[in-house]
């Protein structure tokens, strides 16, 4: 675990999408690493791999609307010595192609990076058919698969190189909409290390993705309203889970709260619960999609509908403290 100083005054002033952090990083890394190849399945404009495609056309492969083949081809390119980033929407990459991910990529431990965009309900208007809220669970359960969920543009941008350098398969979960920037542009992502963005003693909030910002907001609101002190931990690497960081950040905590734009089953909340159930039993309250599908609407409306906005979280949590 690292302790990072975040400027709370500026929080939420700027908004950028994590998928743009990914696309911008690929272009930078393409010049630096010849082994980097990028694959897409007819969504390069949306996943932002099109920037890489334009600059390094010989190292970009579009496989059309065929996600199973996309993953299989990435495996082959890894066998040839490349480090492929395969991109599509999270629903297709982890859902439709799951068994190929398991058998052709992770089981042989091939050096394939699955960078999926449009994860979670913040995908918005397209509705539940495209809003995967099961992907963290689906990837996390595969033996040896690593899972990274950046909280904002800059964390995504810096995570891409570390994901590239990490040996073996990694799932990188990215989102569609512009979301509040939490991190400063100059920042170092450390694979597998959680970051304490706010110190506090009584309760520990553990969040990932867009929910890091909302959790921070909820913690600040609750501290104003109640005489409590809350720590907020960004668990950007969900697997391997930073267990030491969890223990350290929860030393005096009376309860843990987890926040994710994902089902409350099997994702970050699941991982944190599994850990505390065995190591340090205490209440773990999981916030996310409570066994329901999403629906059409803007990202913002949906976050509010499912009570995932900072203000709503503060309201709902107040009675639990």
């Amino acid at each position: 675990m690292r302790v990072l100083q975040i400027n709370f005054e500026k929080l939420g002033g700027e908004k950028k999408a994590t998928r743009d952090g990914y696309g911008d990083a690929l272009v930078e890394l393409g010049a630096k690493y010849e082994k980097l190849v990028v694959l897409d399945a007819d969504l390069s404009g949306s996943t932002k791999t099109n920037k890489f495609a334009k600059k390094f056309p010989e190292r970009f492969f579009n496989f059309g609307v065929a996600e199973q083949n996309l993953v299989g081809q990435a495996a082959g390119l890894a066998m040839a010595g490349f480090t492929p980033f395969a991109s599509s929407f999270a629903i297709f990459l982890t859902g439709r192609a799951w068994e190929i991910v398991r058998n052709t990529v992770v089981y042989p431990q091939l050096n394939v990076k699955l960078a999926a965009t449009h994860a979670g309900i913040t995908l918005g208007e397209d509705g539940a058919s495209h809003q995967i809220i099961e992907d963290i669970a689906l990837m996390r359960v595969i033996p040896g698969m690593k899972v990274v969920v950046p909280a904002d543009y800059w964390q995504a941008y810096h995570a891409v190189e570390k994901v590239f350098l990490e040996n073996g398969p990694v799932y990188l979960r990215l989102g569609r909409p512009a979301i509040p920037v939490v991190y400063p542009p100059q920042y170092e992502f450390c694979f597998g290390e959680s970051e304490l963005l706010k110190t506090g003693q009584d309760y520990l909030f553990v969040a990932c993705g867009v929910m890091v910002y909302e959790a921070l907001k909820a913690a600040l609101l609750l501290e104003k309203q109640k005489n409590v002190s809350i720590a907020v931990l960004n668990m950007a690497t969900i697997k391997p889970l930073d267990e030491e960081g969890l223990l350290e950040a929860s030393q005096k905590a009376k309860a843990i709260f987890t926040f994710e734009e994902h089902s409350t089953y099997g994702g970050l909340g699941g991982a944190v619960s599994e850990f505390f159930a065995q190591k340090k039993p205490m209440p773990v309250y999981r916030f996310g999609l409570k066994d329901v599908f999403g629906q059409s609407g803007s990202a913002d409306e949906l976050m509010a509908y499912y009570r995932l906005k900072g203000e709503q979280l503060a309201e709902d949590i107040a009675s639990l403290l």
Partner: protein
Amino acid sequence: MPWTLASEEENKLIKSILAKEPSRRSTLDLQLLANRIRRNVIEAVYLAASGHPGGPLGLADIYAVLYFKVLNFDVKNPLSDERDRHLLSNGHVCAVKYASMALAGFFPEEELATFRKLGSRLQGHPSTRYFPELENSSGSLGQGLSQATGLALGLRLRKKSNHVFVGLSDGECQEGMTWEAAMAAAHYQCDQLIAYVDWNNIQIDGYVNQVMDLGALDEKFRAFGWKVQVANGHDIEAIERAFLWARQEKGSPKVILFRTTLGKGVSFMENNPEWHGSPPKKEQRDKALAELYESFHQLWENYKGARHEISDGA
């Protein structure tokens, strides 16, 4: 006594064939090796008391040609960058790959006795996690052609000219992903890619044309932009010619559809879907080995005759 129960005399003969330069191996040499592969398959599946004997017997002639004539590899440096890659998509027939690789010297034939047993690198379906020289992991059908295409694209990007061979079954052509890959290989004009299909018209539930008819498989590949040949998968010279053709053709991926007989070489297994995935019992194994020995000795007689002719001529 070696586990295949082969005589010292036979082992000497096999050794002499293996000592030859691949280009100097005759049709008869390859037939003898194919027979040895078949017996190794029967014994491995019998000892494992599980697994798939039928497909491997049907593929033995193709594998003999591949490993002892066609593929470029150096068993002393098996992961050399210069090697041809040989991937297996329908992993359940791996007994034939293991038996061929053992004969080629990747590991001792005796190790075939560990097939499908705890701790063995000869997993029930091929796994590079346990045995990197296998090139790919498979078992779940329909995924190998994508892997092979990606590998061929990668080798081309690295300016390597090695060929990527990949074995498929006809049954797994029912998987949509096979055709996703076929489309991509043609789109990217992967001419380093050579696929071959074990076209025996048998899958677990019965005859392919009754379970889910593939129709004109050759026309299907052709329509996807591939160069296609249909060949007899038990005619050593036809197999050789087909692979030679595939190596030489440029501009698009190639597929050879080998007409094969599941269970080839063991009378009671031939063309019987029941032998797709059941191991032989003791008496069936004895009968199968006896039949194969008989064929071997017949070939051996021909071999002796042929050597006479050569020495007479010289």
